[in-house]
């Protein structure tokens, strides 16, 4: 088992210090559903324009299929599966309750001389095979981000693959980055909203019919036809890698399969600090459905690494 595990790391390109190597054959490894803070009267969470406790729960999955055998994972049997509920609204509206699924791992900054932070993952995506047809256009978007707070700012660098908008395929990558001059009311739907502009972009901000949104900017030349296959019961495993600079608070590189996007000089959106979370670094994965159909993101394995240099 130890040999298999070490060899499994060969499909990654980590920085100097591997802090996390999670293979979901070994359990949930500390990844769990992202939920709001249930700290108000009657254990209510802070009000938001969407119910942040409604997202579909994650699970360990052998990727069972309706007409095929269980798919297993890229290596071993189990992956971490995010599954939305079968509910959606038009893209331009705030996300429907339950239309996403999110998982988070809660870490913190350890090596302060480690300026670079990288997350790598092998993953796949598909809809529930609850109707005939290919189903590719029913997956709206997926991706990952880091929730980071240092001593001065909270910031959330990340990537989102816009797969489909209102039934039309888009297949382009975006960065988490705020459009100019977005107000708190535009961001949260309320002048009293608690999310600062730039924070929690997957459910905040205005969205436009071409797939753009207040919280995201298109990656230059970021069109990429990721493998979907030809049926909901066929998975192909894909690779992504996001490298950020904690000192400059900038993106460095994003890699998706064989393409690497040089993002040096692209700043993340900086928001004021929140109480009690300085030093926090939380990687998050998410998927969103485009129609009234559950869609799934399968994460085979994750490596989170840091280093003083952007290369191992």
């Amino acid at each position: 088992m130890a040999t298999i595990r070490e060899r499994g790391l060969e499909k990654f390109n980590p920085l100097e210090k591997v802090l996390v190597y999670d293979d979901f054959d070994l359990g949930l490894n500390g990844w769990l559903d992202l939920t709001p803070n249930f700290v108000h009267e009657d254990y209510r969470s802070q009000p938001s324009q969407v119910d942040l406790g409604s997202w579909g729960p994650s699970m360990l999955s052998a990727a069972p299929m309706r007409f095929a055998a269980s798919h297993g994972s890229m290596e071993g049997t189990y992956s971490l599966k995010l599954g939305t509920r079968p509910t959606a609204r038009a893209y331009e509206l705030p996300p429907a309750d339950g239309s996403m699924s999110t998982v988070i791992k809660r870490l913190s900054r350890v090596n302060h001389d480690h300026r670079y932070l990288q997350l790598e993952a092998w993953y796949s995506y598909t809809p529930a095979q609850d109707r005939w047809g290919k189903g590719e256009e029913d997956i709206r978007a997926f991706g990952m981000w880091f929730d980071i707070q240092d001593d001065e700012y909270r910031w959330q660098p990340g990537v989102r693959y816009v797969n489909s908008v209102n039934g039309t395929k888009v297949k382009r990558w975006q960065l988490f980055q705020l459009a100019d001059a977005v107000t708190r009311e535009e961001w949260t739907g309320s002048p009293d909203g608690w999310e600062a502009p730039g924070i929690d972009a997957i459910w905040c901000g205005r969205r436009y019919s071409d797939g753009s949104a207040d919280g995201f900017q298109w990656v230059p030349e970021g069109e990429q036809s990721l493998v979907y296959n030809e049926s909901p019961d066929k998975l192909n495993w894909l690779y992504l890698r996001l490298l950020v600079d904690l000192e400059r608070r900038e993106y460095v590189e994003f890699q998706s399969m064989g393409r690497t996007f040089d993002l040096r000089g692209t700043g993340a959106t900086l928001a004021p600090t929140y109480d009690g979370i300085s030093g926090l670094i939380n990687p998050v994965f998410f998927i969103e459905t485009d129609t009234e159909r559950s869609v799934f993101l399968y994460v085979d394995s994750v490596v989170y690494s840091t280093g003083a240099s952007p290369k191992a």
């Binding site: 949930l28 769990l32 579909g56 729960p57 699970m59 999955s61 052998a62 309706r66 189990y78």
Partner: protein, 108 residues
């Protein structure tokens, strides 16, 4: 050492009719124990554990459990369930809704 995990498949979900909880894969686990917690006033709920070949079509598995109107918490255990599990809840209506949390404890 066994692996165990708990999750909430429903979190303050409002039932206004028959309802199936979020389909959950538990193939790695040997035992599953659901807890249904109703908050506020609610009608009597009948809770039927179900299994599925594919997470889409569902069959009853074992006997239903009742959550009386004067109780807030009930458990529903399952074994030999294959992979997919959920609860099917009946008894709520538009006139008499229920708000529920559904916890799931897995071990295997």
């Amino acid at each position: 050492m066994l692996t165990s995990a708990t999750t909430l498949v429903e979190r303050r979900t409002v039932l206004a009719g028959d309802y199936g909880t979020h389909p959950y894969e538990a193939g790695w686990a040997a035992e599953a124990l659901f807890f249904v917690r109703a908050t506020e006033e609610h009608p009597e709920l009948s809770i039927q554990p179900q299994v599925s070949p594919d997470g889409i079509d569902w069959l009853d598995h074992g006997e239903p459990v009742t959550l009386p109107a004067d109780r807030a918490l009930v458990k529903v255990g399952m074994s030999q369930f294959g992979t997919w599990i959920r609860l099917h809840l009946t008894g709520a209506s538009q006139e008499r809704p229920a708000t529920v949390f559904v916890h799931l404890a897995l071990k295997g």
